[in-house]
């Protein structure tokens, strides 16, 4: 890291690229070859697409590259189903969903002549594999950081601001999300058939927050690290749980994925301008693809389809206006529907999923349910849940912006940082500390 700051501006990309590849190789010793292949293929294809004048040839090169990219991604997404005749499990390469989509956006943009092809392999490779965001986004457009790729000055101000954002995200992930994750793990260990209905609801809310803080925390860390390296990466979340409709929720949740689908799938299909029927068809396509992007499991399909249905309903009944004007109903509606969709997201086994919904709505009878399990969970996780609820409101971000340059704010951030270190350190001694018996 220090080396990065000491190297001259021109060599910075190279150092960053080398560091990122080492980082990736540590996690995925073999799949790094796949990543490198992907980068090389797309770099040279894009160059060709840029240079060729004949539209038909351009198109052919473009489609072939697209086919390979999407094919590799689909292969790994489908691999759980192909295990039987491939003999053995195939792990998903780290970050493949993210880096493939990022590379695709570049390829498509070059094909559309929105951006010129990158001339420097190192710059392009840096864009594709930059370590802060390769594992879980945000999905960056090439145009957003091409300027920084070719010449950036990392100021002390960037370093300072990025570090603070990083600590904020780290705290969110380690001190809140990872704590709430224990509750969800406990529910699974107990078995869903043995949890009370109130606990099932608490679990759904807790999981919703856990997922949010986990992902948001990672995204903030990526943005913070990016800033420390001199890049301005796009934000991925904008207080999704404050939304008043499902449609709005997904404009605030994982925004860089949402805008990707919007730009490359939804709008080219005609978006919402060609009548209700086409709009609904387009929504369905986008959501089926979104489900598949998360994984080929049937539960993801239910998750995506469920969301799609609600978004369609909002369209058909034109509820957008009603919901956004409402003060309370819109919030209640989102906070009721979204956790239910996350339950689908969380539980891969359809039998278990049915059981969970059965416990939520009381149509599956409980077995050996412990009296008062809900209160006990509240007692154990109440603090984290409360912090979580607060973190879903705009307040913490305001406080962060207001106090991050204030001496006491910085002391608090520093303490948070060392608390995280403490947690990571004790978890490092015993990676599954909370799984002790």
């Amino acid at each position: 890291m220090l080396g990065y700051y000491l190297t001259p501006a021109k060599a910075k990309n190279f150092v960053l690229l080398a560091g990122s590849l080492v980082f990736y190789t540590c996690g995925e010793p073999w799949y790094v070859l796949l990543l490198v292949m992907s980068v090389l293929l797309n770099f040279y294809s894009a160059k060709m697409i840029d240079r060729i004048k004949v539209q038909g040839d351009r198109r052919a090169v473009f489609l072939m590259t697209l086919f390979v990219d999407v094919g590799i991604l689909a292969f790994f997404k489908l691999s759980p189903f192909m295990q039987k005749w491939m003999g053995g499990e195939i792990a998903l390469p780290l970050g493949i969903s993210f880096y493939t989509f990022q590379i695709l956006s570049y390829l498509i943009d070059v094909y559309r002549r929105e951006i010129p092809a990158e001339k420097s392999l190192i710059s392009f490779a840096t864009y594709a594999v930059m370590f802060p965001q390769i594992s879980s986004g945000p999905i960056v457009y090439y145009s957003e950081i091409s300027g920084a790729l070719h010449g950036r000055r990392v100021t002390l101000k960037d370093l300072d601001s990025g570090l603070k954002t990083f600590v904020y995200g780290l705290g969110m992930k380690i001190l809140v999300a990872d704590r709430l994750a224990i509750l969800w793990h406990e529910l699974q260990t107990t078995g869903f058939v043995s949890i009370s209905t109130p606990l099932a609801w608490l679990g759904a809310f807790s999981y919703s927050m856990q997922l949010y803080f986990d992902f948001y925390g990672y995204s903030l860390m990526a943005v913070g690290l990016g800033r420390m390296l001199g890049f301005k990466l796009p934000q991925n979340f904008n207080m999704p749980y404050m939304a008043k409709s499902i449609r709005e929720f997904y404009r605030r949740w994982h925004m860089t994925l949402g805008r990707w689908f919007q730009k490359y799938i939804y709008i080219p299909l005609g978006g919402s301008r060609r009548g209700l029927a086409v709009t609904l068809r387009n929504l369905l396509i986008v959501w089926l693809l979104t489900s598949f992007w998360h994984g080929a499991g049937a539960h993801f399909f239910f998750w995506g389809l469920g969301l799609c249905l609600f978004i369609m309903l909002e369209r058909i009944m034109d509820m957008g206006g009603v919901l956004s004007r409402s003060k309370v109903f819109g919030h209640l509606y989102v906070l009721f529907v979204v956790p239910l969709t996350w339950v689908c997201f969380a539980i891969p086994d359809l039998g278990d999923l049915r059981t969970y919904f059965g416990r939520l709505f009381g149509f599956v009878a409980g077995v050996n349910v412990k009296a008062g399990d809900f209160l006990q969970a509240l007692q154990n996780y109440g603090l984290y849940l409360l912090v979580g609820v607060l973190l879903c409101t705009p307040l913490p971000k305001k406080l962060f912006e207001r106090f991050k340059n204030n001496f006491f704010g910085m002391v608090i951030l520093a303490i948070l940082f060392w608390m995280c270190v403490d947690r990571i350190y004790s978890a490092g001694n015993n990676p599954f500390m909370y799984l002790r018996f």
Binding site: T155, L156, K157, L159, D160, S161, L163, K164, L175, I182, H185, E186, Q188, T189, T190, G191, V193, S194, V367, N368, V369, K370, Q376, A377, Q379, N380, Y381, F407, M410, V411, L413, A414, I415, F417, W418, M419, V421, D422, R423, S426, M433, Y434, L435, R436, F437
Partner: protein
Amino acid sequence: MKAFKNLKYTVFIFILVLTGIVYYERQDIRDAIGGFLHPETENPGGNPGMVSGGDGSGSASEGNAAVSGGDAPGGNASISGGDSVSGGDSISGGDGVLTGSVSGGDGTVHWRYQTVDESYFDDAVFIGDSRTVGLYDYAGLSNTTFYASTGLTVYKVFSAPIVSVPGQKNKITVEEALSEHQFKKIYFMIGINEMGTGTVDTFMEKYKEVVAHLQELQPDAIIYLQAIMRVSTERSNKGDYINNPGIDARNAEIAKLADNKKIFYLDVNPLVCDDTGGLIKEDTFDGVHLKAAYIDIWKQFLMDHAIEFY
């Protein structure tokens, strides 16, 4: 001047470094942070796992003295300790080995299994780790005493303050609790958390000490040493210290401690394991703990294997 102005952006880094030095230099601060962050470390389930049971008027010999049928799957496995008892011991029983007699200096003791109802546990205490906490949580034995805590080991079973006393804020140790209350039966299952430290021999050395001390504290109690429950085969093959061969090696040694006079060995594993020798996959999420819905198998096994002397 401009460089000077930029210095304010290094303040946070300085604070970070300074607090870091304080953090690493001061063990007490580190402990305070740790204590605040994971107060439940002792007990991730957050579950005290403790209830003070009824004051126990013994009902051991009550219940129908019927010997459970030979088809009780756990039956065979649980007698393996019999031959280690000195003296002319004879173990009889038809197809399933369900009764035994042990002759010692003071005469012959005849025993057999009987099936009892839950009230049998009213004057019993269960001591163990998170698996026993699971039994406490989901078996519905509301009159039974449990001294159980997640992460409990033979090394700290007497010293860990895990027993809550009604009307008292601080918890007391199992040692103190056992000195205050006498029980008729002690159910003991411990040993999985210890697998990461020491060998089978060092574990058994401590385990024997614990059992001897239990006898000292509770001279009238029957001690049921329960075989450590195995983990799922998938979990066992994960490659860390938790594995079934290690559990089996410990269980074989634990079984030898049974004298079939005061100390008996019970092995529920045949009932909860599949033909790969690990916990049945569907009955566990993490490969270590039975799901709540399957706790009854264990409870029923214990109810089918209550010792009756005759």
